[in-house]
């Protein structure tokens, strides 16, 4: 039992907590808890009305049980009852329970809001504060709706107590963060800004958090806060350590408020008013001066508080980036901290210096600390500090120190923590490329990188070295020699084999003169690695081999022998098998000239932003990449994923989903490529030109990214869209490809193909952000009895992780069992920055997709038309034209529908008639269509006849929206 039991000891509660603590095992604890839960439940259900104290005690016990990690599914009502108690502690426990265990039960929210409303109106400051706390704790939209109008009034009212003002300010902030649209400051703006002048420091401290947040969103409306903030800061900075009484913390006057004032100023550019600016610069100088004064106390709290202000002041100086004198002083101060005995200060100094390194005024000053930083990278015992040191080295790197820094980073990589290796690899690769004076150094560096940390070398890194080697003929011979040597190692990383295979395939001839690296030696060396490699690498090696046949005719027989053996030509992997077969055939039938043309050396890659840089930006967010890097990235808009764009008509990479898989043009043998389109087309990027997917009936696949087709941008909102998004069914009736959905986070592209009653739909999920989506799932469901009509099954579940900027593909196999009207639902869930996104869309799957066109003559048509003359077999609509009535446009749409468009059948040449058969597993449904436009009236009459009433009706509904 505790020695202290302040206020009211709830004895029962203390006994219960003791019991739990005395439990010897988890089982015993659960048993004790279940007993208690049963007890509480019976008390709550019992006939005897409980008094307030008992209710409070039991609610408190429930809270305790919840905090132990158990689920609580009752007691909410009793807690709500406590809210309206006039005993403070009962009310307080009620509010605590509600705050911790919010339940979105709408009935309860209404009751809670009622209780809050009463307390806010009570004029009792203690009750008002409790109510405000509850709103801030729950912060739900319902509460924002109920109170967002009231709270600003409380905040600025003249007769509101200070403590209530403080609570109101922060409560409003919370509501603004969750529902900014509901918090309208308008008329209150200037009175809120003037809270910065309030006499009560507590009010200023609370209000400034609100003002900072509002200023970030509406800088113009709040800009008067700048001069007020400067004068407040100036008063604090110049005050003696005892002036502010209780707001002095370990001899530092108002550290929290000072930091917040400095942070608020970072929402704005330097003050334009000379006097204000002078006063601010004075403050900043005073803060820097104080850092040099001897400490007033030995306590760590004193130095922390003092340095917190200092770091915030340095952030402001860096933000302004206009006062060279202050920037250099800041840098020197941080330099001192780099060797401070406090780990925390070393960490922060490294972090803060990173941003200083990107300012032209202080870049040189930062560079003088290079030895200290390298030392930190080697000797710091804490990985987070080493990480900061690596970041700083990266930020301070330029041409003058690149070799030293890259060498240090490489040697650090040998022992680096696994958690930071990938990022280190990217950084080394970027620096090596950016500051390479001679490219042999660059090639050495990257090969070293693969040797030391091969597992962490991503595709972008080895793609890039190849791009650079291809683009610079001065380094090709050296590269060939170096990879050849590197491949001699008995165990070399697969990435090394990839680079080696590619480079020798292109430039092996440059070292073939040396008998030690004769063509056959080169080939044997590569082939000795073949069997240890994964499928994509083997595929790459096969391409290298065919290139060898062109480069060195003398290796032809040996290589053909290899290609011909069963393990290649009958390989169970289709990609490998296909390559072996095609390359073998190509090498046997093509003349030397053809071979030389097909297998010509790769042309240079167009220069674009380094793909590695893009990757690092994605990984760390743009802030982590220094300013100069960003400028270089801007040249081409920065968004490009790969350094060289897709090239070559080939696109049949199976196991590398990254769009940059194509960039090497490795598989660039055009005749082979086009022969392989069947497989290749599966991977045509959704955003490329319409691929070879169009079914024979001629689906409208002209530029689905053209403006009229692209999905309308959704209203700006960070909230996840809820409920099924109406899929604008009409958009995909006459076409199979396009953008199904798009918001700020996600784009869903779609391609589909149908044959008879079967279909296949390719969904492409593109992550538009730079942050990865986690727990990504997509499920297809057929509501109601739809699944007895249509089967729609994903071939496999999607990968749960979608990296920033990456695209994920999912394939759905579709089978139409019988005719249907509704469409299957696609549900997508993922987490983006912690928030769950949930999205339901209707798949654009309509009955007309299973049309088989039927050609017939005029006589046939009208004979069948007459046969289908039962009233239920016909569906007809007369409607106003919504789109262009141009003949060609109408033709294209009707063709897209999938029926045969019959010419010279209708006696009126303005009319259109079509025929087709809907293929379902159960039956075939013949359909005839007649569309009669009336240009003068801008009207249509659409008539559908089919052997099945539901089909006629559904088609008529679908089509009526198309014209």
């Amino acid at each position: 039992m505790p020695a202290v039991s302040k206020g009211d000891g709830m004895r029962g509660l203390a006994v219960f907590i003791s019991d739990i603590r005395n439990c010897k095992s988890k089982e015993a604890e659960i048993k004790r808890i279940n007993k208690e839960l049963a007890n509480i439940r019976s008390k709550f259900k019992g006939d005897k009305a409980l008094d307030g104290y008992s209710k409070k005690k039991y609610v408190c016990k429930l809270l305790f049980i919840f905090l132990l990690g158990h689920d609580i599914d009752f007691g909410h009502m009793e807690a709500v009852n406590l809210l309206s108690s006039n005993k403070y502690t009962e009310k307080q426990i009620g509010y605590l329970f509600i705050s911790v265990l919010v339940n979105s039960n709408s009935e309860l929210i209404r009751l809670i809001n009622n209780a809050i409303k009463n307390d806010l109106a009570s004029r009792n400051p203690t009750f008002m504060c409790l109510a405000l706390h509850c709103i801030a704790n729950v912060g739900s939209r319902e509460m924002a709706e109920a109170f967002a109008g009231e709270i600003p009034r409380i905040l600025v009212a003249g007769d509101t107590m200070d403590s209530v003002k403080q609570s109101a300010a922060l409560c409003l902030l919370r509501l603004y963060k969750t529902s900014p649209d509901l918090v309208l400051m308008g008329e209150w703006t200037s009175r809120v800004v003037h809270l910065l002048n309030d006499q009560h420091m507590g009010v200023v401290t609370a209000a400034i958090s609100l003002i900072t947040c509002l200023s970030q969103k509406n800088p113009d409306e709040f800009k008067t806060c700048v001069s007020l903030a400067v004068s407040r800061l100036s008063r604090i900075v110049s005050s003696a350590s005892t002036d502010l009484q209780d707001y002095t913390y370990y001899f530092v006057p108002a550290p929290w408020l000072s930091c917040k004032l400095l942070r608020l100023l970072q929402c704005y550019p330097p003050p334009e008013d000379g006097a204000v600016k002078g006063r601010l610069v004075e403050c900043l100088e005073t803060i820097l001066n104080k850092a040099q004064e001897p400490p007033k106390s030995k306590k760590v709290q004193h130095s922390n508080a003092k340095n917190a202000i200092l770091f915030e002041a340095i952030s402001l100086i860096i933000h302004y980036d206009s006062e060279p004198n202050l920037l250099v002083r800041a840098c020197n101060q941080l330099g001192q901290f780099l060797q401070h005995r406090e780990t925390n200060l070393r960490y922060l100094a490294l972090e803060s210096m990173c941003t200083l390194a990107s300012s032209e005024f202080s870049h040189e000053a930062v560079k003088t600390h290079i030895e200290t930083v390298i030392n930190a990278l080697k000797t710091e015992r804490d990985v987070s500090v080493r990480q900061r040191a690596a970041d700083l080295l990266y930020a301070m790197c330029d041409r003058s120190n690149a070799k030293q820094i890259v060498a240090e980073m490489l040697s650090y990589l040998e022992t680096a923590d696994y958690s930071i290796r990938e990022e280190m690899v990217l950084k080394v690769a970027i620096l090596a490329e950016k500051y390479a004076v001679d490219y042999s150094w660059y090639v050495d560096t990257i090969l070293n990188l693969i040797r030391i940390a091969g597992d962490y070398v991503s595709e972008e890194v080895w793609y890039r070295v190849i791009q650079i080697v291809i683009n610079r003929d001065d380094v090709q011979g050296y590269a060939a020699k170096t990879v050849f040597e590197a491949l001699q190692a008995p165990a070399c990383h697969e990435n090394m084999v990839k680079v080696g295979g590619y480079i020798l395939g292109e430039f092996g001839n440059l070292i073939a003169g040396d008998p030690r690296s004769s063509p056959l030696v080169q080939f044997n060396l590569l082939h000795s690695k073949f069997h240890l490699c994964s499928v994509p690498t083997r595929a790459l090696l096969l391409s290298a081999y065919i290139k060898f046949i062109n480069l060195f005719p003398e290796t032809k027989a040996t290589i053909q022998e290899v290609l011909r053996c069963d393990s290649q030509i009958r390989n169970s992997d289709v990609e490998l098998q296909q390559r072996a077969v095609e390359y073998l055939k190509l090498s046997s039938i093509a003349s030397t000239d053809v071979l030389a043309t097909v297998l010509e050396e790769m042309p240079p890659f167009p220069e674009r932003e380094s793909s590695i840089l893009a990757k690092l930006k994605k990984k760390k967010g743009p802030g982590a990449v220094s300013v100069s890097d960003l400028d270089e990235g801007k040249r081409d808009g920065g968004g490009e994923l790969n350094g060289a764009g897709e090239r070559g008509p080939e696109s049949s990479v199976v196991s590398t989903p990254s769009p940059s898989a194509d960039l090497l043009g490795l598989r660039s043998a055009p005749p082979v490529g086009s022969a392989a389109q069947g497989a290749g087309s599966l991977l045509v990027d959704v955003f490329s030109e319409a691929g070879p997917l169009a079914p024979a009936s001629g689906v409208n696949d002209d530029g689905f990214l053209s403006s009229e087709d692209s999905a309308p941008p959704l209203p700006e909102s960070d909230d996840p869209p809820c409920g099924p998004v109406p899929f604008q069914s009409f958009r995909f009736v006459c076409k199979n490809n396009g953008v199904l959905f798009e918001n700020q986070l996600l784009q869903i592209g779609i391609k589909s193909e149908y044959r008879q009653n079967l279909g296949r739909m390719y969904l492409f999920y593109g992550n538009k952000t730079s942050v990865q989506f986690v727990n990504f799932t997509s499920t297809v469901s057929c509501p109601g009895d739809l699944q007895s009509h249509i089967l729609c099954t994903p071939t496999k579940p999607v990968d749960p992780l979608v990296e920033g900027g990456a695209q994920l593909q999912q394939v759905l196999n579709i089978e139409c069992l019988s005719d249907f009207s509704d469409a299957p639902l696609l549900n997508i869930r993922f987490r983006y920055g912690g928030a769950l996104q949930n999205l339901t869309l209707k798949l654009p799957l309509t009955i007309n997709k299973f049309f088989q066109p039927t050609e017939m003559g005029s006589q046939d048509f009208f004979q069948r038309w007459k046969q289908l003359s039962l009233p239920q077999q016909e569906a007809q609509k007369i409607f106003k034209a919504n789109h262009s009535m141009d003949k060609e446009v109408l033709k294209a749409k009707l063709l897209g529908l999938g029926m045969a468009l019959l010419e010279n059948v209708d006696p009126n040449p303005e009319n259109f008639v079509c025929a087709g058969v809907v293929q379902t597993k159960a039956q075939q449904v013949g359909c005839l269509l007649r569309l009669e436009p009336n240009i003068q009236a801008q009207m249509y009459r659409l008539t559908l006849r089919s052997s099945k009433d539901t089909v006629s009706k559904r088609l008529c509904d679908l089509l009526a929206e198309q014209f």
């Binding site: 039992m1 505790p2 202290v4 039991s5 302040k6 206020g7 203390a14 907590i17 809270l63 305790f64 905090l67 990690g69 689920d71 403070y88 502690t89 307080q92 426990i93 605590l96 911790v100 203690t126 504060c129 706390h133 801030a136 704790n137 912060g139 403590s163 403080q166 609570s167 922060l170 409560c171 919370r174 969750t178 420091m201 507590g202 401290t205 958090s209 209780d246 707001y247 913390y249 108002a254 550290p255 930091c259 942070r263 709290q301 922390n304 508080a305 340095n307 917190a308 770091f311 915030e312 780990t343 925390n344 922060l348 015992r381 804490d382 987070s384 500090v385 990480q387 912690g834 769950l836």
Partner: protein, 155 residues
């Protein structure tokens, strides 16, 4: 601030305060993960670390870890002192606070935290103001108790 956690050396959660909405399941997962990360760190290591997209600031007092998750742009040192001020407040209220006080009077610990921080921002940094608010509450409750005693005597 996104959340504050108090947990023991043995990995028992003693207090949790969340300032942004999240599903209970995710919270539990985050707590588990974060406790693992922090408990694995050695005494001399720095008090800050990057975790997911957040900055973690933590400090150990006796057997208890106080751990705050703050945003990218928040000031680490000042957060460290937020923790310290909270410890001071607990100490002043309970009189040389220990882990047991927080276990047995968890509701008081919540009240004190609520008086100090609201929605993840500092409401008041003055020790006096915060404690005054808490003591006032205790006083209200004693008055209520006396009243009920008087009433029962009167019957």
């Amino acid at each position: 601030m996104r959340f504050m956690l108090l947990f023991s050396r043995q990995g028992k959660l003693r207090l949790q305060k969340w300032y942004t909405a999240a599903a209970e399941r995710d919270r539990k997962k985050m707590v588990r993960e974060l406790m693992q990360v922090v408990l694995a760190r050695k005494p001399k290591m720095c008090s800050f670390l990057e975790w997911r997209d957040l900055k973690i600031v933590y400090k150990r007092y006796a057997s208890l870890y106080f751990c705050c998750a703050v945003e990218e742009q928040d000031n680490e040192l000042v957060t460290l002192e937020v923790i310290h001020r909270f410890v001071e407040l607990l100490d002043k209220y309970f009189g040389s606070v220990c882990e047991l006080d927080i276990i047995f009077n968890f509701e008081k610990a919540y009240f004190i935290l609520d008086e100090f921080l609201m929605g993840g921002e500092i409401q008041d940094t003055s020790k006096k103001s915060v404690l005054k608010a808490i003591e006032q509450a205790d006083l209200l409750q004693e008055v209520a108790m006396i009243q009920s005693v008087v009433l029962s005597l009167g019957q």
